[in-house]
Amino acid sequence: GSPSPSCVSCGLQAMDRDAEERLMTEIAKQQILEKLHLKERPNITHTVPRAALLTALRKLHSGRVRQDGTLELENNIPTKDPGYEIVSFADISEMESGEGASLTFQFLQERGQSIQVLESSLWIYVRSSEDPHRDSRLPARVFLSAVGEVSGSNRTLVIEKMLEVQDSNWHTFPITRTLQSFLDSGQRRLRLEVSCDEDGKNLCSLDGTANSAYQPFLVAKVRLRDDHSKHVLRKR
């Protein structure tokens, strides 16, 4: 009979435009949280230094940074099982020995979630030596230290590299296996100690102060493991 904008079979009254807009907004919010595997929107208590953020995003190859600092993303066509990439900024504390600094990264894994680390690296900004005649090679070491222990004690060497430092620049340290065993252990805080020692002076910039463009960070490409569901299937 008469055309009615409402859904006759549903028995609902026609919504006014605002109510419909509000409803659609709520649906969009739920859809985005679900697709990002989040229960609720993250509560951001402190801002990451903008310079550090832009540096990290550039390392993520996640697109181009426009003049106004906003990000233009490249839409990657994801594989069937899209992984995702994480950039985590460290909380930094000086080591008592003065040898370097201790970086603490926090990770929160949802209960029942199992994460596979495809690749991970630690990014450290290393300054060039003030002595122009100095050998450009610089020994750098990264240790994994037990959380809660005095820094410098009870730690294991993760990687040792001889850096070629002509001028100040970023250097990466692969920590894929370290991060994988850390996540598998279910802990929440990963603590790494870094030392780039030159005659008692630490050339690694471990400056976590606000607005520091050289804040060390960790990049990881990860994927949710799906063998967990298969396991459940086997149970049935």
């Binding site: 904008p5 659609m24 907004t25 649906i27 969009a28 919010k29 859809q31 985005i32 697709k35 990002l36 989040l38 929107r41 993250p42 509560n43 951001i44 208590t45 402190h46 990451v48 953020l53 990290a56 995003l57 993520l60 996640s62 697109g63 906003t70 990000l71 233009e72 993303l73 490249e74 839409n75 990657n76 066509i77 994801p78 899209p82 995702y84 990439e85 994480i86 950039v87 985590s88 900024f89 990264f105 926090q106 990770f107 929160l108």
Partner: protein, 114 residues
Amino acid sequence: SLRCGNVVSVCCKREFYIKFKDIQWDEWIIAPEGYHMNYCIGQCPQHLAGSPGIASSFHATVFSQLKINGINTATTSCCVPTERRPLSMVFFDSQHSIVKMDVPDMIVESCGCT
């Protein structure tokens, strides 16, 4: 694919864009600046059901064969997405880490009748 106007009749794509700044979600979503949550709405009368080029699903192909052979399908045809594309998102998680995720099939590009 048809784009819906104000009055909806035949299967079409209705565009709906939400700007994260408007809902204060730009505090934790770094990029993109908004989300196109388009959706499909409208009727799929018999003569549009499974029209080639409108619906590219396997279901449409089978449906066409049944119709061509005059078999009464007595089934209804639905207005569904026929093309979708992924969306890359970069956001802060609760640990203030930055996460970049490519979410498949996030944006409806076109609609059609099954």
